[in-house]
């Protein structure tokens, strides 16, 4: 499983979620591809991201299996990852 993480440098929620995700990565070994909403515009467009950031797209064998948008707690993110791992 890998995660496409789409954030923007000017986004406060993204800052909070970057911190949360870094904490999750201390517990879980997940490949994370970070994309910037503005700098990586072309690639981001391919993921049909709406207007709300950040976006975490969980992929398995290049198939999207879950999408998490906006602010979530560390506990929520950890549970999402654990549930996906157990599927």
């Amino acid at each position: 499983m890998k995660v496409i993480k789409i954030t923007a440098v000017w986004c406060g929620t993204c800052l909070i979620m970057n911190k949360t995700w870094n904490k999750v990565l201390k517990e879980k070994n997940i490949e994370t591809i970070s994309l910037d909403y503005d700098m990586d515009e072309e690639e981001v467009q391919g993921y049909q991201v709406g207007k709300k950031l950040p976006v975490f797209i969980f992929m398995n064998n290049n198939q999207e299996i879950k999408r998490v948008v906006g602010e979530h707690s560390y506990e929520d993110m950890l549970k999402i990852v654990s549930d996906l791992e157990n599927e």
Binding site: T7, A8, W10, G12, C14, L15, K51, L53, G70
Partner: protein, 371 residues
Amino acid sequence: MIYLDYSATTPVNKEVIASYTTACEKFIGNPNSLHRLGVEAKEVIDASTKQIANILNIKTSEIIYTSGASESNNTAIKGIALKYANRGKHIISTELEHSSIIGPLNYLLSLGYEVDFVSLKDNGEIDLEELENLIRDDTILVSISSVNSEIGIKQPIKEISNIIRKHPKCFFHCDMTQSVGKEKIDLSLVDLASFSAQKFYGMKGIGILYKREGLNIEPLIHGGKSTTIYRSGTPALPLVVSIAKALRLAYEDFSNKYKQVEEMNKYLREKMSKLDVHINSPINAIPHILNFSLINIKAETMLHALEKDDIFISTQTACAVGDYSRAVYAITKDKERSSSSMRVSISHLTTKEEIDTFISSLEKNIKELKR
């Protein structure tokens, strides 16, 4: 045309434009040139800097000219972070900050710095007790704005300063962009402060970073010495002259202008309270800003409806397009309300007639858009 978006930017005062054009025409030399034209230009810059220092009660050596508040904020945050990385990599801020604070913080996070946001109380002020607990031995910077641009919430800068002063290795940066020219400010409470001329009837493209004497920062723009070693580039003489003029005019007849804005705010609040909207700005917010939320109408739709009546206010969608406003959410705890907020920002130039016309248009458009 009725302009009620003075916190986004202000129209340039005609006297400021005159000072700018005069400076352009009369002082063509580079202030760093050794010949007579250069010396004359340097004298003009020095006189303007002295004038600014006198108004703000600071030393001339504490003034760094920048291109605006975004550059000032970036210079302060990255400048401290890079200079004092050996002391620590922990920074404290709030979720109410402007994108030019959030941006460098996100950047520093990617470089391995740690950032904590101090919580807000129900009235939007930061939780001072939590701030005290968040400061660690490796905290090098606290960055908190004096006034939030969306709602106008004022932070208790003196109390914040008292807490930070107990930690000599931690510096206090304050984004004063929404305060300078609107409120009386005390720079002795902070180590660094940012602001720009375009918020007080000055020109776009010039701002100041106040940096307390004795404090070192890493410059963002390296090169030859300009007016300071902290920001290289040929000194923008006409802009420096213009910001000095704008600042002087902003604090001229200040009490009367402030009282006028207070009266207009009261009048606006009274009128707004009769409409089908929620007022978000607390009563202790600065009088220049009144934030409100629409009920079952999109803020952007209303903005364009008002625009058709030649009235200009702003929507507030935080920094995330289409997302809810973190600032409004912080004080309302209501996502619906935080995603339909709008900001009216007034000035001493605002008249009762303008407010009456705005209220009529808003009332008419609420009825029409709710159909």
